[in-house]
Structures are given as structure tokens and as C-alpha cells.
Symmetry: C2
């Protein structure tokens, strides 16, 4: 049972696992992983994996290893996210903190993915490995769609929801689902036949999926509303990458024409982060911040968070269900 | 049974598979895969997978799907190989044929890996998925070691053999091994208990491993001895990347001092492909070509090819065993 500070406890578990297992096999790649883990993060994914397992099977001991695998898959996607595009490098941004270089980053991420799959296929029965592989394919799918949607000022909200559903919510859904399935398997259910837990597993998957949507929308809001010191990265970085996120999409819906002109002018620059684009950039940022779009986006996040909480009603009342509910509720209480 | 031109037959099978299966799921990534498949290649990996299956279980129908997965894993590693390092871009090489950009290439490779793992975990029992995941981890391991060994003029041959064993031979070993195991499973052996075929599977894995060594050494020789039109890329590209391959390692062993001085001078340039490095580059190329190192490296490749052929003796005599033997034998007959 998780007690004390769950975040600290899980952080320690993941770090211990990386130290014990991964460092033994590949010290250089473990170094890149350390680098990412050191950079912070709330370890929400392993936390949800472990809570889902206990919410499903209260009597089965914690599976911190599966939870660590989920965090390592997340870390691998972050390492690959850090690979710069040629165009970024041309824009003079090669000096950002790419301590390891593109090639090493690609290899380190690939190694992590394959190492986790090796371990998972050795230790977890069907359908856990397939769920993880399918989830990773969906993340890539979402990222490709996001790449192609960049700079499209007419992107409908539906496409945005599809993108974040794939790139973010699928991983949270898989964390909750696999945590639950693995616990059911360890409790003695036959592989692929967790009938007695099927409803619980479905509910937890639904929880993870809705929670992931709320999580990403909140993240996209913070990119508009926070300061650099709060974010740990410059505010407006989505806009600089011409990413169409919900605050901008909603603001364009509400717009009388001024915002669309500013966005067109900004997106006409090959590099939206260039010095010459600064005026258009500031105008867009200001217009998105000052209208009602942020409140609408926050309401959407809150609605997904409520969906996540509602999904938990199918579960027996346990301290872990309560904790999942509490985590989701923080995503409907933030105000601007 | 494979008849006519095996290469053309397998090419058609892989392309059909990509068209039917992958294009349905993700057209953009299928486009990147097409791009790689169009660029040529001998489809040796799927060929060995299918021949190993038939050599192990002559009565089991061909499994062209598993063979296609092996080629797609190879294609995914090629797509990731194409990702440039920041430093390469700084050296003004961003104009090479990176039609898709680094970010898309990373995502396309990741998608392919995860899509193949999803399919394999759905369709193939243990230990096939684990062998593939472990193999991919070893490939990454080998590539990381190669990256770290670049520019180390004192690299011992043993380290070179370790690197190519991981980055190249493991995939051929897995092709032969998984082809055989999957055939045994389809013939009715229980998962993980292919006892009656254990010796055959071991022999085929050994074949693939030795063949892969011969294959990579030959490739590394050709980089020194061929012209650009023969290679489809500039000759000496390993040297330009400061890669320590067997011809250079052997030449340095035979050297009276002139080569080591030229190599030191070449590797002292941050960019061994820069205009100012041309003199040192030409000297190294000429010295490696003119000494006995190429012949020694060819003899080493031939010896691995003979090992591969010898491994096949454990198998019943079938047309497929003969074909595997013939393929390996071409790697001991090349002369310079």
C-alpha cells in the first residue's frame, strides 16, 4: 500500500529499478535516462499503474516493476521528442541542451523501448505486451498527426482531441489497463480471460483515457498562461512550434478577425520563433490570453476530469480508488 | 516453396504486405517505408527467415508475414540510421536526401517497431516476441558502441567483432532462429518447448550469426574497394565518419607508422569529410587499399561464411539448406 508521499515513493522505486536493472545492462543509456529522470516530473504514469493494480486486486502485492516500465516508455518518448528536426537546427537552435546529440538520443530511446519490450514479453502474459506495443504505435500516430497539423490555423477541435487522445491519453489508458490486468493475472486469472475483472479493467482504462485528455489540455493551457519559471521552459513554446492547441483553436472560434490575421502573419514566418516574428507572436499570445478561450479550454479539461472520476464508480470503494479520484479532481479545480 | 528468382519473389511478398497491411493503418509512415524499399536491397533477411522455416519444417507452409516483419524491423533501423546528428548538420550536410526530416524519421521508425511488435505479440507465441525485442536492444547496444568507438585508431579487432556482432549479426541470427521456431510452433510444438527441433533451431541461429558477421565484414570491405556507382553512396564513407572497420584496423596492425600518422592527422579534423581533410583522407584510403589488409579482411569474412555453411550440417538435406549454403558461399568467393 502506498503511504506517505506517493510521488516520492514512486520516484524512489523507479530510480532504484533503473539503478539496479538498466545500469547493469547499458551504463551509457542509463545515463541518458538518469538525465531525464533528474529533470523532474510527477511520475503520474507509474503512480496510476500501481493505484489501478491495487484498485483492481486489493490483495495482490504492488508491481513496482510494471509501473517502472511505464515510466521508462514515457522517458523513451521524451528522449525521442528531444531529437531536433533539420529545420530547427537551421534555425540556429542546435545549442539547446542536447547533451548527447541526435544519433545517441535515437539509439537510447530505441534501446529503452526494446529493453522494456524484452522484459515485458518475458514477464507478462497476453494481452499486456500487445497493449503496450499498440499504445506506442498510437503515440507515434498522434505525433505524426500533430506534426502534419502544425501551422494549420483551421484545425477543428475534433482533430486536436484525436491527436492528444493518441499522443497522451493512450499511455495513461494503458497504464491503468495494464496495471489492472497484470494484477488480475497475478491474482490467478487465466491469460486473456480476466472475465471477473473485465468490468474493472474497462473502467480503469476509461479512467486513464479521460484523465490523459484532461492532463494534456491542462498542459496546453499552462503553455499560454504560465511564466517561464513556472513551466521550466519558455511560455508560448507550442505557439513557437506552430502547434494548434485547444486555447488557440477556441480563441480562433471566438475571434472577430484580428486574431486570425495575427496568426496568419505569424505562421507566414518559416520560423515563428524568429526575432522578426516577435510582434505577431506577442499579439497572438495576448489575444488568446485575454479572451474567453482559456476558460473554455479549462472547462473542457474539467469535463474530462469529471468523466475520469465517474469511470471509477464501477470500482469497489478502496483507498486506491479514492486516491485516483483525488488525482483526477485536481484537474478540474485549477483556475486562471 | 520458393522458386524462380527468390529475391524478386520475396520483394513482391514484402511489398504486398506493406501495401495491404501497413498502408491501411498509416499512409504517411507507409510512404517512408516505400521510400526505403524502393531504394533497393537484396531482402536477404526475409529470405533467410523463410528458408530457415522450410529447412526446419519442410511440410509447414511458408510464413511470408514473419519474413516481412524481419525486413520491416531492418527498414526501421535504416530509417533511424538516417537521422543526422546535430554535428553533421553543422557540417553542412543537411541537404542529403532527408526527404522527411529528423522528427518524422524518428516517429516513422518508432511506429514501425511498435506496429511490428503489436503484430508479433498477437500472432507468435513465446519466445518469438522476446527474441525480437532482445535482438533490437542488442542492435542499439552495438550502434552505441560503434558511436563511442568512432575515431579511436587503437580499437582492437575484438571490439569491432563485438560491435558488428550486435549491430548486424544479431538480426540475421534472429531471422534464422525465429523462422525456425515459428515453423516448429506451427507444426505443433508447444510454445517454448520445441525440443525435437532444438538442435535445428540452434544450428540455424548459429548459421545466421556467422553469416551476419561475413555480411558486415564484406560490406565494410566494399566501402574501401568499390566505386560510388557500385555502392550507391560515396566510397570511403565509413572513413569519413571515423568508423573503425576491419580493413583499417588490419592495415593499422600491418603499418610501419605512415598510416597511423595519416589517420591521426585525419581524425584530428573535427570533420573528416571537410575539404581541408581531403589530403589525409586520400592518403589513408590509398594506404588501406594498397596493403594486405583488404585480403586479410576478406579471408576473415570467408572464414565466417565457412562457419555459417558448417552450421548447416546439423540440418536434414533439403533444397532450402542447399540454398542457405549457396547464399553463404557467395561471401567467401569474392576477390579484389
Amino acid at each position: 500500500m502506498i503511504s506517505g508521499s506517493p510521488q516520492l515513493a514512486i520516484q524512489a522505486v523507479v530510480e532504484e529499478f533503473v539503478r539496479e536493472e538498466l545500469s547493469q545492462e547499458n551504463a551509457h543509456i542509463a545515463g541518458a535516462v538518469w538525465n531525464m529522470l533528474d529533470a523532474g516530473g510527477k511520475r503520474l504514469r507509474p503512480q496510476i499503474t500501481m493505484l489501478a493494480a491495487r484498485a483492481c486486486e486489493p490483495d495482490v502485492p504492488e508491481d513496482a516493476v510494471l509501473a517502472s516500465y511505464m515510466e521508462l516508455i514515457h522517458v523513451a518518448t521524451l528522449i525521442h521528442d528531444d531529437v531536433l528536426d533539420n529545420s530547427d537546427v537551421r534555425r540556429g537552435r542546435e545549442s539547446t541542451n542536447h547533451a548527447f546529440g541526435n544519433r545517441f538520443s535515437v539509439l537510447a530511446g530505441d534501446y529503452l523501448f526494446s529493453w522494456v519490450f524484452k522484459k515485458v514479453t518475458q514477464s507478462y502474459a497476453s494481452p499486456v505486451p500487445t497493449i503496450l506495443a499498440a499504445m506506442l504505435a498510437e503515440i507515434c500516430n498522434g505525433e505524426v498527426k500533430q506534426l502534419r497539423a502544425a501551422g494549420n490555423a483551421s484545425l477543428p477541435p475534433e482533430n486536436y482531441y484525436e491527436i492528444i487522445g493518441k499522443k497522451t491519453a493512450e499511455l495513461f489508458a494503458a497504464c491503468a489497463e495494464c496495471g489492472a490486468i497484470a494484477a488480475a493475472l497475478r491474482a490467478g486469472a487465466a491469460p486473456g480471460q480476466q472475465a471477473r475483472d473485465a468490468q474493472t479493467v474497462r473502467a480503469l482504462r476509461a479512467f486513464g483515457r479521460s484523465f490523459g485528455m484532461a492532463f494534456q489540455i491542462r498542459d496546453d493551457i499552462l503553455d499560454y498562461t504560465s511564466t517561464e519559471s513556472q513551466l521550466g521552459k519558455p511560455a508560448g513554446s507550442d505557439l513557437r512550434e506552430k502547434k494548434m492547441t485547444l486555447p488557440l483553436i477556441f480563441a480562433l472560434q471566438d475571434d472577430g478577425g484580428e486574431l486570425r490575421r495575427a496568426v496568419s502573419s505569424l505562421f507566414a514566418f518559416e520560423d515563428a520563433a524568429a526575432h522578426e516574428a516577435a510582434h505577431a507572436f506577442d499579439t497572438v499570445l495576448e489575444l488568446v490570453r485575454s479572451g474567453g478561450a482559456i476558460r473554455r479550454a479549462a472547462a473542457t479539461a474539467a469535463s474530462y476530469a469529471r468523466e475520469a472520476e465517474a469511470a471509477l464508480h464501477a470500482l469497489p470503494l478502496t483507498p486506491e480508488r479514492e486516491e485516483l479520484c483525488r488525482i483526477a479532481s485536481t484537474f478540474r479545480q485549477f483556475s486562471f
